[in-house]
Amino acid sequence: MRTRRTFAKWLVVLGALHGIVVCAGFFAPYDPVEQDRKSPYLPPMRLHLMDAHGHLHARPFAYSLRLREASFDQYEEDTTELHPVKFFLSGARYRMLGFLPCRTHFFGAENTRICLLGTDAYGRDQFSRFLFGGQVSLLAGLLGAGLTLFLGLCLGAVAGYYGGWRDSVLMRFAELFLALPWLYLLFALRAFLPLAVGPLEAFFLIIAVIGAVGWARPARLVRGVVLSAKERDFVRAARGFGASNGYLLRRHILPETSSVLLTQAAILIPQYVLAEMTLSFLGLGVPEPVPSWGNLLSSLQQYSVLVSYWWMYLPALIMVPFFLGYLGLASSLQERGEAYKMEKSSLGSLI
């Protein structure tokens, strides 16, 4: 019972986080590719409640940043004017959920830009880029994991159900894939695909590569489940009644694999988000100007950025809750699976 509760809790947390990313246009105050060449590498703006004169304000506000005298990249707060944070403000156009044209943003300010995470080399708002980048990275993870599980399910079911030469060929092949360090494998597959492609093609290419790399482990797990499921009494009975292979697989055997697949999904999705990040970070993934969590961090490869503009690292910290959510989900699923197994085995011993 308790595990079901924690499972629901993590599901809610993840749902909320993903909701924010899905509605990135609404929660992000600015367009992710809108440049402001006059304010590159703006440090994160602070939201204040107390102004420079010591007066308390009910509504949080920000000071706009201006260049410090005789410097070219040091900013200071311009305390002459307050910019109160406004909610449900009209701003840059975007499409809600990809189709609804919309202009309302969750927060923002008039007459100035509020950049909670600072800006990058082109003066683009890092917070907006983080949210929109999340769309790319998380979707890549989800679709990649979906592809892997689909491949794993099909191949595992074929290997487990039909057995014989199909089983041995597929499992030898799986060993081959499991033998390679996965990042090397990812690199290898990426190496043999075209490099200079548009963002959309790159996105699907990456999903295909990431999804194709990991099929071996789920396939093995599915094979194990199918092997035991096909010897169950009710399956034999159904076969005795003349059920076809397709019907047996669809109706009786594949549903047995659902808990294994669910747990694998919770493990694979964050792993694949990381894979996308790694590829994009190294310049093998989604190209600029489209943001992704990987290429958000890639400017840190330059020594000067690392030294002077530490806030470019902030996105790496903000993405941690997402991974935490998936870890929590995976472990609660694993616990549930174990509890289920124990329940079944204790029942078995009773009977």
Binding site: P181, Y184, L185, L306
Partner: protein
């Protein structure tokens, strides 16, 4: 003995399979290194065609694979277009650096994980154990990339550690002892990143394996005989729990190799990682194939080592293989 021979045969089969697969993929790859040349108006098309013929790129795939196998036998593993040299000497220098990093990190990670896991398994469910679980969970959710970048940021900000590379300026002039110190100094950050990223997995598995064994009847009997706690844990419980851990050891090498690929690029450590990335971007396909094969070789070597350890640690394997 037959067990080991079988494992070695298996490893060989794996390597052959990987090389074949990698080669099949190269055939699918669009473009070669020479495509860049073809775009260059200063190079005559005849020159490019001659180069193609020289490297055998105009031959069909089976012929190319055969000639590549031939070059493997001669210790070359094909030819790097970008470096204009055989692949093996190129890779060997880099592979040494990668191995230096991964072996150190593997040993260190296990040296930390074993006592920590045992310590935590002994206090299962108590406060220290729970704190440790939280700690490992926290490490687990920080992406490797964020970890490596964070450490680098720390190094740059504090100035305590070098911010990348493998040697300081004027490394050649140092005495051997100073060289060693300089190298160790440069290794601190990448090794820390690797250890931290692999530690949570190891600690969790050690804890689970030892906790499993601690409830076994033979250990309760040992407690009843009044055997010292330390002896109990490390001489009785740990060997009994070793079986899954040794398999994990082989697996952890793969994880660390993958991790080191990223860490090397981030911290500009001159290992296989940066070379491989460079080769991918330049379409230097033989280097890519060679790099992948080297990494497989390490992994297979690690797994063989794990098998050896298992053979030594688990007497059941002797009887199993002699029964066959």
């Amino acid at each position: 003995m037959r067990y080991l021979l079988r494992r070695i045969g298996h490893a060989f089969f794996l390597l052959a399979g990987v090389s074949l697969l990698a080669f099949l993929f190269t055939a699918l790859a669009p473009g070669t290194y020479l495509d860049e040349m073809r775009l260059n108006p200063q190079i005559a098309p005849e020159t490019v065609a001659a180069l193609r013929a020289q490297y055998g790129l105009d031959k069909p795939l089976p012929v190319r694979y055969a000639s590549w196998l031939n070059s493997v036998i001669h210790g070359e593993m094909g030819f790097s277009f970008a470096y204009n040299s055989p692949v093996v000497p190129l890779l060997l220098a880099r592979a040494r650096n990668t191995l230096l990093l991964t072996i150190t990190a593997t040993l260190l990670a296990w040296a930390i994980a074993l006592p920590l896991g045992v310590w935590s398994a002994e206090r299962l469910g108590q406060l220290p154990d729970r704190l440790l679980s939280w700690g490992t969970a926290a490490l687990l959710v920080i992406p490797d990339l964020a970890l490596a970048l964070g450490l680098l940021l720390f190094a740059v900000k504090s100035g305590w550690f070098p911010s990348g590379g493998m040697a300081s300026l004027g490394f050649e002039t140092l005495s051997p002892l100073q060289k060693l110190r300089d190298l160790a100094w440069h290794m601190v950050l990448p090794v820390t990143a690797l250890v931290l990223s692999s530690l949570p997995l190891l600690v969790r598995h050690v804890r689970a394996a030892v906790a499993d064994v601690l409830n076994a009847p033979f250990l309760l009997a040992a407690v009843g005989h009044g055997i010292q706690r330390r002896t109990l844990l490390y001489r009785y419980a740990l060997p009994a729990a070793a079986n899954p851990l040794i398999s994990l050891f082989g697996f952890s090498i793969g994880v660390l190799l993958s991790g080191s690929l990223l860490v090397e690029v981030v911290m500009s450590w001159p290992g296989l990682g940066p070379l491989l990335l460079e080769a991918i971007l330049a379409r230097d396909l033989y280097v890519v194939v060679g790099g992948i094969l080297f990494s497989t070789l390490f992994l297979v070597g690690g797994n063989l080592l794990a098998d050896l350890l298992l053979y030594w640690a688990d007497p059941r394997i002797h009887t199993e293989s002699s029964a066959r």
